[in-house]
């Protein structure tokens, strides 16, 4: 699957996107974030504050319990901050 990172998640990981093939036990967004955290120190630090992370599965906003089975594109990012202050 293709992984996309935005805003400070992207900056902390040091990548805007990457390809990954998660192992069989990774069923949900939360599982995926746990697994990604083991990829590098930068991943672990960027993904440490779980409550500050949001995700989208194939373009739809998704909670931590959402399934990632068969997904082609998963995005991980901070809460959105709208168009104006």
């Amino acid at each position: 699957m293709r992984l996309l990172y935005f805003a400070w998640v992207r900056e902390r990981i040091g990548l805007a996107e990457e390809e990954a093939v998660p192992p069989a036990g990774v069923g949900t967004v939360a599982d995926l974030i746990d697994w990604l955290s083991t990829r590098s120190d930068a991943h672990r630090e960027a993904l440490a504050d779980r409550w500050r992370l949001r995700a989208a599965v194939d373009g739809d906003f998704a909670g931590p319990e959402a399934s990632v089975a068969g997904a082609k594109e998963i995005a991980i990012f901070p809460p959105v901050t709208g168009g104006m202050t």
């Binding site: 805003a7 959105v80 901050t81 709208g82 104006m84």
Partner: protein
Amino acid sequence: MIRIVVGVEPIDLPAEQLLVEAVPGAGAVASFTGLVRADAEAGTGGEGRRVEVLELEHYPGVTQAALTRLAEEARTRWSLTAATIVHRVGPMRPGERIVLVLAAAPHRAAALDACAYLIDRLKTDAPFWKRETRGGEARWVDARDGDTVRAAAWE
């Protein structure tokens, strides 16, 4: 008409207004324009560093789809003749237009309500992230709970 534009170009308000007015059936056009503010840092009593550059990052494709869905919801709910959302991304300076919402309907109440709905919802439903630069130092802006409350009030 539904018109959604997400791009780095400055927002041409008069041109967008003319497009909406050209659609038959409208008796009212409501618009909202958001400008980049030069706000001083919070908690500094207006004395802190002001915003020099505001940069907006987005999730291409998904942004377009989210704004289109919102505009279509508003068109159905208020029987709009036209709904336009133009959103700037990339770097901007204070005073520049960051977002434009236009809603056209046969009468003013529907146009005004739809316009307010669209601007409240797009702040929470669309994947945008803001980064401010003050004193040459860039910082990602945190989400504000108030925006979620305002959007939920429409449910």
